[in-house]
Subunit: 209 residues, 2 copies
Amino acid sequence: MKEKGTRIATFVRLPLYRSHLRSLDPMPEHISAAAIAGALGFGEVQVRKDLALVFGGGRPRTGYVTKDLLAGLESVLERRGAGDAVLVGAGKVGRALLEFDGFSSYGVEIVAGFDNDTAVLGKTDSGKDILPLDKLIPFCKKHKARVGVIAVPVDQAQDVCDMLVKAGVQAIWCFTPVRLEIPNHIIVRYENLAASLAALFARLDGLTV
Amino acid sequence: MKEKGTRIATFVRLPLYRSHLRSLDPMPEHISAAAIAGALGFGEVQVRKDLALVFGGGRPRTGYVTKDLLAGLESVLERRGAGDAVLVGAGKVGRALLEFDGFSSYGVEIVAGFDNDTAVLGKTDSGKDILPLDKLIPFCKKHKARVGVIAVPVDQAQDVCDMLVKAGVQAIWCFTPVRLEIPNHIIVRYENLAASLAALFARLDGLTV
């Protein structure tokens, strides 16, 4: 169904609408879907549909009341998608994810990292804990972590995945290039950065999407 | 067309076949699509199709000659997708990408980083250069860089994009959450890590894909 397909895509665009509205100085009393679309490089119809899904209906052609629109976006973003993730594997990629400051605008956070290498334990620059791996399960249970991020070497990924499932996470975001064996009720998203870059070059070499 | 759609997907799976074959010790004389599929968690039909696209035809049911299959994969992977990328923005994410050691198995590399902050210039742990931004265009031209990776703050992304286009790159891999204005002949891939994590939480909250 097309409508189902749009829901997450809409959701992930909401922070962009919010940051655009926040950046307006002075904030105009009204703002049109066309103006928002123009500023963000989206189609006007898409913007109208996205905002309709959030607010459950259309708006007069004069535009949205800007502060109401912003308040609505804040409220939806606060309600939806909030939650804590934990990360296992504090190597280069893992540490960058742990320190990445872009998550907060989406209402999500990686709250702590775990590693079996004692040399990397401690606090990150931004004050997040990197804890020993044997603290993973109790930490997840205590903090009700819902997503586990895996950024460990290939040969450790399945064991870490099993621990995260045991710890009660409901979704896995996996940066290690493996296929995980995992219960069906757990959502998995694989992120293969190397494959993404390779695919870009492949397109340049004339392979088609 | 379905067939078109499979080509890049096939391409990005090839390194997984290669690393599986390389990991076999001792290497068997023959190997079947079923055995490869089982080891990697893929469907047998998919493996057969992927390898057929690479080798231009079917194989007898006894399986592939393992060393010929490996040699074929090496050859395709060497030919396809090879190339150098440059990165602009040596913050946390940028530096992690620059130091990420997973690209090489896909035959691609980020060869150098650029930044306008003199404090981050120099060599990375793995010996890659982080150069001042005014060296970007001459460097790209000299090294024939084909892909530019953008990992700068939002307000600098468009300027950096314009420089990369001027420098002759053919594709942009953008980690900054913006929409770029860019000539049509340039391929752009946006990577929004925060949106990806937020989308995982959204699915847990009952939003459908």
